[in-house]
Symmetry: C2
Subunit: 373 residues, 2 copies
């Protein structure tokens, strides 16, 4: 049996990455665009970045890539999901400040262009645009044989919101209710660990899944022309959930104020990415979070933990464990918001509450907690 | 002496790249965002992409990377210019539709993060933001050891303009005047050929330049702590010119209408990138272009042509040859616009005119022409 594994042993040095990013940021100066002009930076409580002024609105930019999930796509030459992954990683970040995503651009770096791969990427991006309801407003393909070994895909999403309607976590209160939105699988984080586990276990991505992958809150997107059993590759490449539907409509409904809740009642939105549950800590400087009735993890998470001997604490700070977005709402209208969401997305669940016994995330059933992002 | 070289022999298959991009685009459907709503796509004459509606304004996105120039930066561990290159490639594209760039996000993919490299990139991006007058509104650093061998840097710029004030080339007329803006060197295109020439010639980037690199329209950005002669590496890594100053102010002056010219008098703006002079063909379906009094190429272009035995036609469709942007203006106010620009950017020059003898670009002194992009 494999040695016990964690994210760091899979070759990802989070501290080094953080230190590199901090070095870059510390070299940046103040923006030359003065407050009150288009493009002036807007600092929100909680350190949310990416927002700029634009008249009565704020514009938001998010940029991210698919990461090492692409290496599985390359190996299997299966690209139908990665455009959705790329879109999701970006638009889901925009939703967290209450922005409606409206446009997207992609950046593809390849050692050598392949028209068939690009056609598949185009189809995947087109599906992603429909799901996220955005316009694909451009893109770039760079042939960089000396720089990239394999295809790299990243993108940038643009969103907007009205001034004064940003969701920041600033007005979070003890007793606020956490509503979990189900994920579709591993999404686009933790793949260095997934790949390491597969390698150590000596398994192939074309192998049939040695477990029942069915889960009430998602379907697996099958590869084309496949009628056989679901493979590990299909499970691991299942595209990331795009939460624009229903989150954009939830925010619009709140803005309209006719359903018994307002934007102020949506206190914070957390995209559960790398860092897992610890992402919640970004939303507030002093409050805590208790998950007491979680969404059940999809079977692949349990299988990965077992086969890779990854401990529970590590699993929940590496993967989304079944819950890809957490919306924190005012207790007074939590039922209304929960009912509104549940009609539009099966598997939505009240999973916990905001607490006041220190800045930490507690998963009470499992007895694990996180105090640092 | 080396065999005669061209861009294709340097390993870049432009046709394959075009075919891959066409495959991607043909897989895309129509945007789901209806006309009149934020994010709805705007099709401009001339096929300009990247524009979306936003109330009384249009927003424009441009995404591009630095490309194989990065391989020289990697080899020399000199990163002070590449942030400027990345910014320039994007904001100069936005200027071509008359958009004012306001924000930028960077995407860095590395095999392993290096805080020192990131600090240098941050300083370079900060300088780029000042030059382009934009806010750095976010960024992403991805550690992708299996995907990238070396650092890849790309970015996305956001700009805006008023509806109805896009510069598209649509109202170009025979007799319109071409005003050339000097480049700072090779900018960020053609580096596969530069590198191939250096390799075949057996030269090192740390070698002193075997020619006088001085040029009246630019200075070479020196590496830190260097008091020796200018090296080939310094010349080839000289950062791309960012044209926001003076082009944004030119457009604003035209909009204000108090200097004897209007936005309608700025008929077309061309960013001279890969494709060199043939980029002009993108601006109009039937008119032609005659360059009869060009800006003199910087010494490195003449040296590369000689040492690599690259013919003149190939040089002018691979490199900017000293002229990085061409603004086409109404003959009636060409003197006023030229004078306005000349005061703000030394080396600006009237280089030619729009013709009506077929869709082609003619460099009359050299007897070369381009009929295809």
């Amino acid at each position: 049996m494999a040695d016990k594994m964690d994210y760091a042993s899979a070759g990802v040095d989070i501290d080094l990455e953080g230190s590199a990013v901090a070095s870059l940021i510390s070299s940046l100066g103040k923006s030359v665009r003065p407050s009150g002009t288009p493009g002036a930076p807007v600092d929100l409580p909680g350190g949310f970045g990416g927002l700029i002024e634009f008249g009565d609105h704020l514009l938001a930019l998010a940029t991210d890539g698919v990461g090492s999930k692409l290496q599985i796509a390359s190996m299997l030459n299966q690209w139908s999901g990665v455009g959705i992954d790329c879109m999701a990683m970006n638009v889901n970040d925009l939703l967290c400040v209450g922005a409606e995503p409206i446009a997207f651009v992609d950046y593809v770096a390849v050692p050598k262009p392949d028209p068939e791969v690009h056609a598949a990427l185009g189809a995947s991006l087109a599906e992603a645009c429909r799901l996220a309801r955005v316009t694909l407003a451009g893109g770039e393909t760079a042939s960089l044989p000396g720089i990239v070994n394999e295809l790299d895909l990243s993108g940038t999403a643009l969103g907007y919101l009205k001034k004064g309607e940003a969701i920041t976590g600033e007005n979070l209160q003890t007793g606020d209710v956490l509503i979990g939105l189900p994920s579709s699988g591993i999404h686009s984080n933790g793949y260095s660990l997934v790949r390491k586990i597969m390698e150590v276990a000596g398994l192939q991505y074309t192998d049939d899944a040695p477990f029942d992958s069915s889960s009430p809150t998602r379907d697996i997107k099958r590869f084309n022309n496949t009628n056989d059993n679901i493979t590990l590759g299909e499970i691991f490449l299942n595209p990331t959930k795009i939460y624009c539907d229903p989150v954009v409509d939830l925010i619009k409904t709140a803005q309209a104020g006719e359903s018994g809740f307002s934007v102020d009642d949506i206190r914070g939105i957390c995209h559960v990415t790398g860092g897992g549950l610890s992402n919640l800590l970004r939303l507030h400087d002093s409050l805590g979070w208790e998950i007491d009735d979680p969404i059940a993890p999809h079977p692949e998470f349990l299988w990965l933990a077992e086969i890779g001997r990854v401990d529970t604490w590590e699993m929940y700070r590496t993967f989304n464990m079944g819950c890809g977005m957490i919306i924190t709402v005012n207790l007074q209208c939590a039922d209304k918001i929960y009912s509104w969401l549940k009609k539009r997305m099966p598997g939505v669940k009240v999973i916990g509450k905001v607490t006041n016994n220190g800045r930490k995330v507690v998963h009470s059933q499992l007895g694990i907690e996180y105090t640092h992002y």
